[in-house]
């Protein structure tokens, strides 16, 4: 197929449609409005639903309803709007419903700013909502990866019956890169026997629910889900690694930040410092093992983020003291400069 140039936001929307998502519920917020705009244009043409909800809360609860009714459903927003979805997300996780949520992160806290940020890492990965639950979090670094991740996200969501979050930033959402869409047409979707589609008097009623008044019963359900999470930690970790074999300094960075890090690594190479990169593609499950393995050989690891230091905690947990783990970040919408990252590399080399 011919490569086309597309904005990240639009590419994510188109990818969702190609993944057979026909139900999108959103609420406008910069810098991800193009997702809704694209859906608004396309959905009516293909018999799908684009609905601008009255709020992010309504949108996530519409997703709950639609997902519970067995269709592929999606919502997208940016940081403050994602915070508003936390209760709903917890409900979706608690009712074991598959769905895809996109967060094109902007600077926080509060109204913050609309420039790129990665300061919603904690919220995404540690569960900003209440209760013991997890969300698969995928952080593409290019538009092509955003496309592939989005399509895959729907499959993962269905496979594990849980929410999958695609996390990016305004850079990813707004930039264009050449992409091709993988062939998805005709791919059959598995039947969802648990969904509320009307019994047609041919089966017992299906119930979508997260309430269990008896602690023992609820605990059993949570522990079964925990088991599922362990399976995912074993089989769904994704990352990109570069130069780990002989790196003195290894950088861990995700999303667009990882691209900037590569520019810094080029500078380091010129200075004769051997650097490596681990780019988590899934933020949860987190690529712990490779980080631990790397920590045992490297002189130091630096976590580079557009935040005041969030993923660095997971990097430290993974390294478990095997080598020092440093942090470098910019926040508030400021984007790290390759030179500044290079300075950090030099500092610890």
């Amino acid at each position: 197929m011919d490569k086309v140039l597309m904005k990240g936001n639009e590419a994510i929307a188109e990818a969702a449609i190609r993944a057979n998502c026909r139900h999108f519920f959103g609420y406008p917020i910069t810098p991800q409005t193009e997702i809704s705009a694209y859906m608004a244009k396309r959905m009516p043409k293909i018999g799908g639903t684009f609905l601008q909800a009255e709020s992010e809360i309504a949108a996530i609860n519409m997703v709950y309803g639609a997902a519970g009714a067995g269709v592929r459903a999606m919502t997208s927003s940016s940081s403050p709007g994602i915070s508003l979805k936390m209760e709903g997300l917890s409900y979706i996780a608690g009712a074991d419903l598959p769905c895809v949520v996109v967060n094109i992160v902007r600077a926080g806290p509060g109204l913050g700013g609309i420039q790129p940020a990665q300061s919603d890492y904690f919220q995404a990965v540690k569960g900003g909502g209440h209760g013991d639950y997890r969300v698969i979090v995928v952080a593409p670094a290019s538009i092509q990866e955003a496309v592939d991740s989005t399509i895959n996200a729907f499959d993962l969501a269905d496979k594990y019956r849980m929410p999958v979050m695609i996390i990016g930033d305004g850079m990813l959402g707004q930039m264009m890169e050449p992409i091709t869409f993988p062939e998805t047409a005709g791919k059959a979707l598995a039947e969802k026997e648990w969904a509320t589609t009307g019994t047609k008097m041919t089966r017992k009623p299906n119930i979508i629910n997260s309430l269990y008044i008896q602690p023992e019963e609820l605990e059993k359900i949570i522990m079964a889900r925990q088991k599922k999470y362990e399976d995912i930690e074993k089989s769904e970790v994704k990352y990109e690694a570069e130069g780990l074999d002989d790196a003195e300094i290894v950088i861990v960075a995700y999303g667009t930040t990882a691209r900037i890090v590569k520019a810094a690594m080029a500078l380091a190479q010129k200075s004769g410092i051997k650097t490596g990169l681990i780019r988590p593609i899934t933020l949860w499950p987190f690529p712990k093992d490779i980080i631990y393995k790397t920590a045992k050989k490297a002189k130091a690891i630096i976590s580079v983020e557009m935040s005041t230091g969030q993923m660095v905690e997971d990097v430290r947990l993974a390294a478990n003291g095997a080598c020092p783990v440093y942090f470098y970040g910019r926040t508030g919408g400021a984007v790290p400069q390759p030179k500044a990252i290079f300075e950090e590399i030099r500092r610890y080399a």
Partner: protein, 250 residues
Amino acid sequence: MQVLFQRPKALTDAPFHYCPGCTHGIIHRLIAEVIDELGVQGDTIGVAPVGCAVFAYNYFNCDMQEAAHGRAPAVATGIKRAHPENIVFTYQGDGDLAAIGTAETVHAAARSENITVIFVNNAIYGMTGGQMAPTSLVGQVTQTSPYGRKVEMQGYPVKVAEMLSTLEGSAFIKRCSVDSIKNINDTRASIKKAFQCQIDKKGFSLIEVLSTCPTNWGLSPVEALEWLRGNMMPHYPLGTYKDITGGDKK
């Protein structure tokens, strides 16, 4: 031998957990009777609220979803958009619908979302132990208005049926009561009409049902019905507030 009255098929066998004399049970049964009468049990998807009716999913013999507190209309919207040919109804209390869920209610109506809302107004938060609801009457003593609801502090009761009927999107809005045989029968007929409104794709329908909470009103079930009649009905007049079902959906 002819059966004059029996448990409707659209109810499961599970006994209600409601307090003695709580009219939630009557309203449940009326909905089930309507589902039976219309023969739509296999097509119906219900949405349970967070409130005393939280376990409604155990009682209705059809597919059910449990919504977050106040979000039932949004959940129902998601379901209805996924399956426009199914019958989708929500069952919601006054805290659920008229407080935390205000935006979802208003906008489901404004969108003329083709769903049916059964709105159980008992002028109190039953499940959490009797706090003031938006629909609590002026002067009503509750856990969070221990000196009686005061206009200067807590304002006025919200009249949901009146408010929603100003929205162009609402198709059929009626207030009923289950305090007497006559009103119970009228409530059943009204619920049936609301479901029919949905079947005919005429848009958003809502039946507000005045209901009792003997436990948190601190009254016996019989006294509670009297209080409902003497205090709620004067403030919340029964009747049809909006009905476009005569014609086509505008």
